[in-house]
């Protein structure tokens, strides 16, 4: 592994100051960063270890929102009683990701910032616009079965955003709180991850030197139920081929309100707003669910090996809705 300067920060100010240097990166759980530094895909000159910053609390705010410290681990967040009770979709999404050991290390901010799993990106030799802007995309005409998208792709990059947690957060609604050399600011979660467009090397709205301090979840939707359904190549420990995070509020046997986000199929955590509108006021039946699923995947563009993801994602929506509303029949 390449060598780098190493600083350990104990407060945010120290972390920001140390990160002011060129090519500095924050080190949290290290499960993305050290993996990719070993592959020489990420090439930091300086690492700023943020693990000792006091950003490891989960707090319920007076307006019902929940503020999650950047360093709260995926395990802690998934098991938090308030999260389990009011945001089951988030707890389930977290527990469906990675492995027990990795979730013990992985942090909330690190998860938001995780990189794509595209093997051409990771192999450090193939043309890849994300790794080396302008070199081309090997996946478009290459192997693109499992970790490549059908929504939000561009001719420059088609890799999916691999996170499960982020899909739940996209459905719930959230704000990313960041602190940088120019002070604090907030970014809407849905604006945080960027579509690849012409600049696939730009993945998020964070400016150089900025630190994520918290993710704030929107207050839970009253009287709602929610769940995460992840479809993958094996039953455990695998990235999603297609997944759905769904929150619904029923009124009698109709859908009063629904929030739907998709994983495994989009180049960013994918909120399916039009499908949500299509469900509003509809009877909670398979027919309505199928129509909404069709709307969600309307703009999908299949590639060589991943056309199956379009029906698979639809099924992830339909099945999740069926289970969630099961009582209604």
């Amino acid at each position: 592994m390449r060598t780098f300067q190493f600083d350990k920060a104990t407060d945010t100010e120290q972390a920001l100051k140390a990160a002011g240097a060129e090519q500095a990166m924050f080190l949290a759980g290290g499960t993305t960063l050290l993996d990719l530094v070993k592959l020489d895909v990420m090439q930091p000159e300086r690492l700023v270890d943020v693990n000792r910053l006091p950003l490891n609390k989960i707090e319920t705010l007076s307006d019902g929102r929940v503020r999650i410290g950047a360093l709260v681990t995926n395990t802690t967040l998934a098991r938090d009683e308030h999260i389990v009770e009011h945001y089951p979709v988030l707890s389930q999404a977290l527990l469906s990701g990675a492995t027990t050991q990795l979730r013990n290390k992985a942090t909330t901010a690190g998860n938001v910032m995780q990189r794509v799993r595209c093997h051409y990106f990771r192999d450090n030799v193939s043309p890849c616009n994300k790794r080396e802007p302008g070199s081309g995309c090997s996946a478009i005409e290459g192997d693109n079965r499992s970790v490549h998208a059908v929504l939000g792709t561009s001719e420059h990059c088609i890799a999916t955003h691999p996170s499960d947690m982020c899909v739940a957060m996209a459905a719930i609604g959230a704000t990313v709180q960041v602190q940088g050399p120019k002070g604090e600011r907030e970014i809407d979660f849905l604006d945080y991850h960027l579509l690849p467009g012409d600049t696939p090397e730009r993945e998020h709205a964070l400016q150089p030197g900025e630190l994520i301090t918290h993710i704030v979840l929107a207050a839970p939707l009253a009287d709602s139920r929610s769940a995460y359904l992840k479809l993958r190549d094996r039953a455990s420990y695998q990235f999603a081929l297609a997944s759905s995070a769904i929150i619904v509020r029923l009124q009698g046997d109709r859908i009063a309100e629904a929030r739907i986000a998709l994983g495994g199929v989009g180049t960013k955590p994918w909120r399916a707003t039009e499908a949500e509108q299509a469900l509003r006021g509809q009877p909670a039946t398979e027919d309505s669910f199928r129509r909404a699923a069709d709307v969600a995947m309307q703009g999908a563009k299949p590639y060589r090996q991943n056309a199956y993801k379009i029906p698979l994602a639809k099924q992830a929506i339909v099945r999740n809705l069926q289970t969630l509303t099961g009582a209604v029949a």
């Binding site: 592994m1 390449r2 060598t3 780098f4 300067q5 190493f6 350990k8 080190l27 759980g29 290290g30 499960t31 050290l34 993996d35 070993k38 592959l39 690492l47 270890d49 693990n51 098991r79 990675a98 492995t99 027990t100 050991q101 990795l102 013990n104 290390k105 455990s236 420990y237």
Partner: protein, 206 residues
């Protein structure tokens, strides 16, 4: 060569397995497994190095390490604690699982410098006074390995899972919680029975 003069692969492995484990159970092995205490505090730091304290299996080592030294490599190469294995080196296989402050993590994705002052337990630290940990014993009794390469990681995960009240005790929950420990030999069935029988024994003991 005829089959009669060569022991079958199974018989051979079985005898080696049993005899090496018999040695493993003996106090001599246990002593050998305790690391010799490393103390670099008199050694001048080389450029880029930092001096850290690692409390491993109850023993504090002072080591000078470069910033990019990985915890797994420091344990194996500097402290000679080679029980923790390196499989994939990328967080995918679980062979390098150990406990940091009681929590199971992958040591291949951990920088040693990040763990200054932390308490680390490796497979070598599970026995107490020459007696194997119930999970170690159960792996032996249930033949929960073939080549043994994944075994340290499996056992470290199993101990953490049995001690974790948030993880279900049914077979499906154990399989799910241990899915980060890959066994190339496919000993999963026996691993599961070892974990479940160790759980029973540990319940009785406490």
């Amino acid at each position: 060569m005829s089959d009669s003069i060569l022991p079958g692969r199974r018989t051979f492995l079985k005898s080696v397995g049993v005899s090496s484990l018999a040695v493993a159970a003996a106090p001599a092995w246990v002593q050998a497994a305790q690391a010799v205490r490393v103390d670099d505090s008199e050694q001048p730091l080389k450029p880029g190095e930092q001096r850290i304290n690692l409390k491993v299996n109850g023993q504090t080592h002072t080591v000078n390490v470069p910033a990019n030294a990985v915890l797994l490599d420091v344990l194996r190469d500097r402290l000679q604690l080679t029980g923790t294995k390196k499989g994939c080196d990328h967080g995918q296989c679980g062979a390098c699982t150990l406990h940091v402050n009681g929590v199971a993590v992958n040591s291949c994705l951990s920088l040693a410098v990040s763990h200054d002052g932390d308490e680390i337990t490796t497979i070598e630290g599970l026995e107490k006074d020459g007696t194997l940990h119930p999970v170690q014993e159960a792996f032996w009794e249930h033949d929960a390995y073939q080549c043994g390469y994944c075994t340290s990681g499996q056992i470290m995960s199993a101990v953490a899972i049995i001690n974790d009240p948030a993880i279900g005790t049914d077979d499906a929950s154990v399989r799910e919680a241990m899915s980060g420990n890959i066994c190339r030999c496919g000993a999963y069935k026996n691993i599961l029975s070892a974990v479940q029988s160790a759980r029973e024994k540990m319940k009785g003991a406490s």
